[in-house]
Symmetry: C2
Subunit: 223 residues, 2 copies
């Protein structure tokens, strides 16, 4: 509808085209990647015996790939190791509560990404090692190089999955209050209550050798 053609690095599909509020959808890699890089916990949906299951789990993005991991023995991991596991992976960053004069126009500002696809087990040892490091660095950039890497035995306890970013979209609700004109004179407080996730001061393990320096990658207060 706009004069400028929106960027669409990830071509929209029926599943990534909202039936309502299409103006909130984004398909450009920059937006999708920015949302994915701003968090490290996703909600992973899959189907078990015809019913939905949604579990929180950590993820990492490397280029156009997402990595997940889980215990080798768990049911979704075993399914993924076979024919692959159809998943819907969703990341949501709440950014504020929109307080309108009318109940109906209350809303939430957020950025989210929904990715559809089939998660498959990574078997190449180099890619497994890369994924392990990415999962740790996605939580805390710089950390993977500052801990003991997994041994082959430890790697064998864990299944690493890859989900290629193909059928994916971001959704963004931003800005202020959208009340109906006839409600604008109502005397209720209206506006935005911003929300943010913050990192608090690191708490050292009591068993750590006294005097161990706080690493640079932990000094940054902001997430």
């Amino acid at each position: 509808m706009d004069a400028a053609q929106p960027v669409s690095d990830y071509p929209p599909t029926p599943r990534t085209t909202p039936t309502r509020k299409r103006d909130r959808a984004r398909y450009d890699a920059a937006t999708v990647h920015a949302v994915l890089d701003a968090d490290f916990i996703c909600h992973l949906g899959f189907v078990v015996d015809g019913a939905p299951v949604v579990l929180p789990t950590i993820y990492a993005r490397v280029d156009d790939r997402l990595y997940l991991h889980g215990s080798t023995g768990s049911r979704p991991m075993r399914t993924a190791a076979g024919d692959g596991l159809p998943v819907c992976l969703t990341v949501t960053l709440p950014q504020g509560i929109v307080l309108a004069r009318s109940a109906l126009h209350h809303s939430v500002n957020y950025r989210s990404v929904v990715a559809h696809g089939t998660a498959r087990q990574v078997t190449d040892p180099e890619e497994v090692s890369l994924a392990f490091a990415a999962l740790i660095d996605h939580m805390l950039p710089g950390r993977a190089a500052d801990c003991r890497p997994p041994t082959p035995k430890e790697q064998a306890m864990t299944t690493v999955l890859r989900l290629d970013l193909r059928e994916v979209s971001a959704k963004i609700r931003s800005g202020g209050v959208n009340d109906d004109p006839e409600d604008m004179g109502l005397a209720h407080w209206a506006g935005l209550l911003p929300l943010a996730r913050v990192r608090q001061a690191p708490v050292p393990d009591p068993a750590m050798a006294p005097g161990t320096a706080l690493p640079d990658y932990l000094r940054a207060a902001a997430p």
Copy 2:
């Protein structure tokens, strides 16, 4: 396994019994409700054409019931209005990153709730009104009484769903680092990086009448 029998207000089922780390599971209403009351955004999973879909949406808890809402015309809402919509509703509160000396023992402290069941449309007008108010008060307690309530026409644009809490469990990972004994001497910083969601200063709508007082329910800084 403990001497004291754990409280189990929501009897465990195969779907709410983890295959691993069972000690993290809780089935008492106090814990489940506390997690549900600490957030207002859930990830709702359902199945469309055999494939999983996970979308973020707001929810409210009233006793042993969860309420959700959505546009009357949307596909999941139409399904729910018919035979009901089998869902998995998940709420996750990240509480910190656990930085172990070994990559494998990195973890996340969190509290989560996973509820399975069939979401059904609420048709009783009184319960619909109660659900609307609960959805707003769950975001910000006290707000529902301080905005214009929905008109019958506005209510008709929205489908309200109810999910009874029956097959539900909480999971909690808390505490510190669990490194293997042979790694305890490694010189890597170890400990916890706490995470928290905070509310920032409210931002008034520029169109609001100057001098409109900030309501008491917005004065509390803590979420």
